[in-house]
């Protein structure tokens, strides 16, 4: 009850400020909060990155293990993306198995990596039909102040750029690194009333009726999209969101990933 009232007050506040043409934290409508990406922060992981977007903080770790390939792709490595919304990160998160929000988060990030074909899965084959590398991308959310998906997707691709292949630990030989073929970047916008805002913070997320994540590649093409939320979007709103998505992804790629390439 108490929580619902707070929720309503928060939404009203966001609307009020928007009515005067501003965002609650003073940003431009297409402006991101401060972004930082630190790489190789966790040495047990074969790749890792700590991404902050404003106060949102997401740690991504990449682990590799040999495993059996799928029967319909005997010569290809396997990507497994998992997200833990650990209760540390928000009073709303509860311990327990993944719920629909963490499943969606993981699957959208996964879709971008997969759709962009950033990873050359054939290079992850150890022995056809018998053994391939399984790449586990684990998204560990530490602090949720909104827009987890962009932070998680950025952490995932940053972790993947120059991860180590732990051949030695498993008594194997081969290349110890695998260059990425693309750098998909996710850009999320929300619709609040008639406005479209990039990189929603937590207040804005709770006030938004619809959210659209647009993941695009270095060539500007789309590799994944996901609408969520209980609202509807017009064709022209989607067009605007896609445009912002492609534009912002380019900026983020240049500013925060190009130095890792």
């Amino acid at each position: 009850m108490g929580l619902e009232i707070m929720d309503d007050i928060r939404k009203d506040y966001v609307y009020d400020v928007l009515r005067s043409g501003k965002r609650v934290d003073g940003r431009g409508f297409r402006e991101y909060r401060a972004i930082s990406v630190e790489r190789d922060v966790m040495k047990r992981a074969e790749g890792s990155a700590l991404v902050k977007i404003g106060d949102t903080e997401v740690l991504v770790g990449v682990k590799l293990e040999p495993g059996e390939p799928f029967s319909d792709a005997p010569d290809k490595g396997i990507i497994m993306t998992n997200a833990e919304l650990v209760p540390m990160a928000s009073p709303e998160f509860e311990p327990g198995p993944p719920n629909e929000n963490s499943v969606e988060l993981a699957r959208v990030v996964d879709r971008g990596i997969r759709g962009s074909e950033a990873i050359d899965l054939e290079k992850l084959c150890i022995e056809e039909g018998e053994k391939v590398w399984m790449i586990f991308i684990d998204i560990h959310v530490l602090d949720n102040d909104g827009n987890l998906v962009d932070a998680a997707a950025l952490g995932a691709i940053a972790s993947l750029l120059n991860f180590r292949i732990p051949n030695e630990r498993y008594g194997l030989t081969g290349e110890d690194s695998l260059p990425m073929r693309d750098t998909p970047v996710a850009v999320t916008t929300v619709k609040i009333g008639g406005d479209v805002l990039a990189d929603p913070n937590l207040y804005e997320e709770s006030a938004a009726t619809s959210r659209l994540t647009v993941i695009s590649n270095a060539d500007g093409a789309l590799s994944g999209m996901q609408k969520s939320g209980n609202g509807e979007l017009k064709e022209e709103e989607i067009a605007e969101m896609v445009e912002i998505g492609i534009e912002k992804a380019k900026e983020i790629r240049e500013n925060y990933l190009s130095n890792f390439l």
């Binding site: 792709a73 590649n217 996901q226 609408k227 064709e235």
Partner: protein
């Protein structure tokens, strides 16, 4: 899209493997009110997809602490029968069905008038009995009709279809083989009366122009599906009235 071989030629002489043109839907069959126990139901075929939707409610929500004092709570469960796919699916929800259930529920959020039934639950159940790509869209189409059959007040129905890219061409309503060997897939759901999108997912590789063309194609197709949904309901309704008079 699965990680399989991609060397299959999906387009021959300007036609797709099943003989369809690029902008052509698979055959659709709709039966309304086919289940006795459910408050509303619909059997829906789209090509080789066979899905059944059932609606229960508005009914008491329990456990009670999940009730919403201001409106009905809509739940949506997309489920695949173990024998609906080539490799038997283990019963119970997996991550894929959890996500599909979420976006499908959200596809109906804008149209169901939940305020009429505070504290209640409206349960939508979709069972995929036979699958051939596009089951989530078939499920949404079926659920839409089942909701209407159950008398749940809605601003309007929701219609759903996917577009994709195969052999470099943007085409409507991918079949299973097209999905497995194609380059992109984008399922959408739409309120035909207002041309507003309530579900949108995409994966693969779409240039911006391809995406735009695909979205238009899907939106047009949703209008056609909407007409079939309406027709099926009208037929069912007139039959009921007819039966009532006998």
């Amino acid at each position: 899209m699965k990680e399989g071989e991609k060397e299959i030629e999906l387009i021959k002489k300007g036609k797709r493997l099943d003989g369809r043109g690029f902008e052509e839907l698979r055959p659709i069959k709709i039966e309304v009110g086919v289940l006795k126990r459910a408050d509303g139901s619909c059997y829906f075929e789209m090509g080789n997809n066979k899905v059944m939707a059932a609606v229960y409610g508005p009914r008491e929500m329990h456990p009670r602490h999940f009730q919403d004092a201001k409106m009905a709570v809509v739940k949506y469960r997309y489920n695949m029968a173990p024998f609906s796919v080539d490799d038997r699916k283990r019963p119970g929800p997996d991550r894929r069905s959890v996500e599909i259930s979420k976006v499908s529920r959200e596809a109906f959020d804008p149209v169901i008038i939940k305020e009429y039934y505070p504290k209640t639950a409206i349960d939508v159940y979709v069972e995929v009995l036979q699958s051939d790509a596009g089951t989530r869209t078939a499920g949404i189409n079926a659920a839409s009709v089942a909701l209407a059959d159950a008398g749940i007040p809605m601003k309007d129905m929701v219609s759903s279809v996917a577009v994709g890219k195969i052999g470099g061409e943007v085409v409507l309503d991918l079949s299973g083989v097209e999905d497995n060997h194609g380059e992109a897939d984008m399922p959408i759901a739409m309120v035909a009366r207002t041309d507003t999108i309530t579900m949108l997912q995409m994966d693969g590789h779409f240039k911006k122009e391809e995406f735009e063309r695909g979205l238009k194609l899907a939106m047009d197709a949703c209008h056609k599906i909407y007409e079939l949904q309406r027709t099926a309901l009208i037929e069912r309704y007139s039959k009921s009235v007819g039966e009532g008079e006998e």
